[in-house]
Symmetry: C2
Subunit: 222 residues, 2 copies
């Protein structure tokens, strides 16, 4: 039996360690959408091959193939997923709630994560003489700023529940859990974020988050 | 005559030079939504006062007051504006088009702009010994990566028209014009981005973009 196009798994170019791919995995699993992850070895430079650049012009993962088009940038893909696969919702129904969730997600995706990606490490290593210790200090500074920034938002109320907004996971939790997982991967402990810690624990207890962990992916080098 | 709550201008805490505030100004003007910008002098540290932190826990601008709640993060506010003031639309109607526009916006908002903000400059100055020339080199590198990244996306087709997506301005154009304006403010010229240059020129010819320029704001120091 050939599956209909609706039933065929979504194809996504990803990488085990990618925080942006993690966000997408969790959302797809929460929504019960089948997908096939095609590994692009970022450590091996596979993102720079002409073949992959034809798919993703900037060489970024994740790149999700929809109707023959490659969608890039995790927040854009999460919004597309919400529009095309609305159940269960990963955004609240009311505009103010949606704004709050998207704002918390942006603190992670725009204010925190871009500072600790490989191309920044490369620049600092090549042009600012950063060694491992100075890179670790940089990572620690920006992971801390990000997680404490989210903590300030969550502790200020406005809708914080078992999760960032109410009692069901949203895009905000997905982004936050990814940032916390990234910090853990690099051995960075951030203190004084009790609300963040509580919510990340609630996320990690869910199968969709657990199965999306970097070390559970087929291309994880072990 | 007292204006009804619907007619009262939206209050937004902003700063003349803020690229994120620029995005919001353009969107509000394109949609014809009245607003009052309350300047927060980021050069004078006003974002760090307890009063402002009660409004915006991370001290970020823009912060838009809606129903007594401060909305933060420009992409989240742009989405809220689109949901609450849908005309004229700043996102296409189809999910794939919306994903493309949001993806181009994210290349600016998540991959480019966060690298060249004051807190990054501060870290590099204090902990990496950056002087003005090395900061300028850093800025040039990341402005160039961002604008060339958008160029690669636009030149690859998929919907590029007079503007980033079709023939009307969208959120993608708003973010792109802000990045280009930022580069210009800092005296950084980026070569080999003909599609970006053409689209930014088309944006700047529109009154909404022109009136949103940093140097046309009341708190511009001249």
């Amino acid at each position: 039996m050939t599956p209909s196009p609706e039933e065929a798994p979504l194809e996504i170019y990803g990488f085990w360690r990618s925080q942006a791919m993690y966000r997408l995995r969790v959302a797809l699993k929460l929504k019960g959408v089948a997908y096939a992850e095609i590994p692009v070895n970022l450590d091996g430079g596979e993102q720079d091959t002409p073949e992959f650049r034809r798919i993703s012009p900037m060489g970024s993962v994740p790149a999700l193939i929809a109707d023959g088009t490659a969608l890039t940038q995790s927040l854009a893909i999460l919004e597309w997923l919400e529009e095309t696969h609305p159940e269960p919702p990963l955004l609240p129904a009311d505009p103010l709630g949606r704004a709050r969730v998207r704002s918390i997600a942006s603190v992670v995706v725009a204010d925190s994560h871009p500072l600790i990606v490989p191309r920044v490490k490369r620049y600092l290593t090549e042009h600012a003489g950063f060694d491992a210790a100075r890179w670790k200090a940089w990572q620690t500074y920006f992971f801390t700023a990000g997680l404490q920034g989210v903590e300030a938002r969550l502790a200020a109320g406005g809708g914080t529940g078992c999760f960032c907004h109410g009692d069901k996971p949203t895009i905000a939790d997905i982004c936050l859990a990814g940032l916390a997982a990234g910090a853990k991967t690099f051995g960075i402990a951030v203190a004084d974020v009790p609300t963040v810690d509580r919510i990340v624990d609630a996320c990690l207890a869910l199968p969709a988050f657990d199965a999306s962990r970097a070390d559970r992916q087929a291309d994880f080098p072990g």
